[in-house]
Symmetry: C2
Subunit: 411 residues, 2 copies
């Protein structure tokens, strides 16, 4: 008799963004014709840049001709497109980081690999995650069976790294021993970004405790101040303990195109294994359970990594969304809200007024101002009492939302 | 201290196609300038059809305009594009199968879901696979930890369903109780296709033993005789016990574009769970660990499912590859080889001469005739003594390969 993976029953509530979509839909059905301003999900809304569009068109064109048609990537146990891998090598070189082609794995966006990377580690490994943080790490850890039971608002075997006003929403490394640490930097949802010193503390911790850092770098291109690291490998010895996962989703508008990459350095060694073993495990995992990312999307990525592509993403997309972030920050500050983030990340983290809970404030914003945000509690217990405003959206829409809050919210 | 998933160490050898690529590369390096005819990997080689190219172009164009740009799919816990889901519903309707949109999950090709579907089942579930068969089922079952140790050429906890000349390479349902059954029909590598009666035996078994069938339908469009089922759901009550996974890879040339689909019927119920639970588990898994398939590829899929698209795939692609299969079958039969398959699938399954092992015959074909095939033993113990010729390739190349075998192979 087939049975189910009971770990799914330990998951708390639906996937956060599903719940938001449901409540929004309900509101719209009850208020037909009402304009709703969505600043909830972190979904890109601007069209792709001209250079990327040309890259994608080239990708399609190649498939129309027998001479340039390609099917599977090279099947040497490692999925990949050597031109794109070389472009990644060049991209990292500009950050003074040297990588080999076999250390880079092309994926279909960060989320899948952030979840699937757990496949190569032992089931008894203790996982630490920031609180609050992007919920996919937690939920995939629950599904894998590494969290224990959920009692009194906490998973018993999970280590939570608290992010709060006091530590500027950047957590300290855990006090106890853990084996796997998820870091999201700049942080989603708080928009906080770690200094070199703060990241070094994690690398030191990992080396001392023989832990592995899973570094989610999806927002690094939003960092506007060069003194903050844009890759975990800017920290000395990080290659010995960190896997970096990144994506074109947020900075090049690839949330629907789906293309990202994962770096598993050859130097990343776990005690009792040989050099390169972790890299080869991931290679085996991907060779067995993944058939490569869409080759049209790969051409788009190649274009995004070109000089023109990077410049356009910066000037056309990042600048646009960060202008939205500034409007949100300014608008809410003026009304007396306590706001954080929004300088090195497209998210503004806002303290709820009058000690409202996150979902209470979510409902209030939706019902009174018709603005959709994300309740902070959906990102972890420490997110309670906050909501996240996403800067992804149409600038006019963002301005309308700020006006509506100013005019309609009963404070 | 982080540790590795020790199940990886139970895997036997490298991933099959990686090993073939390595041996081929070695041969070419030792014989510079020598022309090698590749009939190994089942990789499509023909360009995409005009209708599909137009669909993909449209997909790119939509992303260039703010009005038509789309990022993430709807975020209601279920990734999907409603237009494409409706096209799938129509596609199944032509086979007299009624599906609801929420029963269909768009994926990035069959392989990922065939492996990841295991996530929703208990770790103690006993898995049955055909022998020989496409190696991804076995390897992902090993990685998940469901096979036990590898002793005397067999995984102790895995149930092998033997395919041999005697049963026409279509296995009988297991004699013992199992919980999950992988079926690949038409079978890769043997090219054998099951009758309605043979599939019904599996459905009956699954219902009786409360097992779940994972039905890999990647090659069904190659079935040339209408009396053979093209979907497991053509068998009565199959919706109560079967998940069907399919892809555009082989019949529409999407091996590099990456697009497929998984059907998890609402009626599929496991004892002790409510109706729709299995569907919701998979929805939760995908919502948490997958961010949807490339939306350009989805436009290509929409085009592939249109009347013109289906017609072109049939006339331009399937007919081309099946012509290759016929050339291989005829050529090898003439030389006295015992050949199977190649009528409802783009694979020809060939008995090795003089009791050579699969890898011995692989090496002989490579070194003497410069033809790359796939050793049958790579698909399971029962594949020993056979090799697979793939019909995916240029027709001139296939003809050259046949000529070279005729001329150069020392029999």
């Amino acid at each position: 008799m087939a049975t189910i993976n009971e770990n799914y029953n330990k998951l708390q509530g639906g996937y956060l963004f599903g719940e938001i979509a449901r409540r929004t839909k309900n509101f719209i059905e009850k208020n037909p014709g009402m304009e709703v301003m969505r600043l909830g999900v972190g979904d890109t809304t601007r069209p792709l840049t001209p250079t990327i569009i040309r890259g994608l068109q080239k990708g399609v064109k190649r498939l129309a001709n027998v001479k340039t048609y390609i099917g599977y990537q090279d099947a040497e146990g490692k999925e990949g497109n050597i031109r794109l891998l070389n472009a990644f090598i060049g991209f990292y070189k500009t950050k003074s980081i040297n990588l080999k082609a076999k250390e880079i794995f092309i994926n279909d966006g960060a989320k899948t690999d952030l979840a699937n990377i757990q496949s190569i580690f032992g089931l008894d490994n203790i996982v630490a995650i920031a609180d609050p943080v992007y919920p996919a790490y937690l939920d995939s850890t629950v599904i894998a069976g590494r969290t224990g039971k959920f009692i009194d608002g906490k998973y018993q075997d999970l280590v939570y790294m608290e992010c709060n006003e006091k530590n500027g929403f950047i957590p300290d490394p855990p006090k106890q021993k853990v084996d796997i640490i998820y870091l999201c930097n700049p942080n989603n949802p708080t928009g906080a970004v770690a200094t070199k010193k703060q990241l070094k503390a994690f690398v030191d911790y990992a080396l001392k405790n023989k832990a592995v850092i899973i570094f989610d770098a999806a927002y690094v291109e939003y960092i506007s101040d060069k003194s903050f690291p844009k890759s975990i490998y800017e920290i000395k010895k990080a290659k010995k303990c960190a896997i970096e996962i990144n994506s074109f989703s947020k900075w090049s508008g690839f949330t629907g195109v789906r293309l990202g990459w994962t770096v598993v350095p050859m130097d990343l060694v776990i005690e009792g294994t040989k050099k390169g073993k972790i890299n080869s495990l991931w290679s085996r995992r991907q060779g067995t359970m993944f058939n490569g990312a869409c080759n049209i999307a790969q051409e788009g990525a190649l274009a995004a990594l070109s000089t023109a592509g990077q410049k356009e993403s910066k000037k056309i997309l990042i600048a646009y969304y960060m202008n939205n972030a500034a409007i949100i920050k300014k608008g809410l500050s003026k009304l007396g809200f306590k706001v954080f983030g929004g300088e090195h990340a497209p998210y503004v983290w806002v303290k709820t007024p009058s000690n409202l809970s996150s979902w209470e404030f979510f409902n209030k914003l939706l019902e009174e101002a018709h603005v959709v945000v994300t309740p902070g509690s959906g990102f972890g217990a420490q997110g309670e009492g906050y909501v996240r405003f996403s800067a992804f959206g149409d600038a006019r829409n963002v301005k309308k939302a700020m006006k509506s809050i100013q005019k309609n919210l009963k404070l």
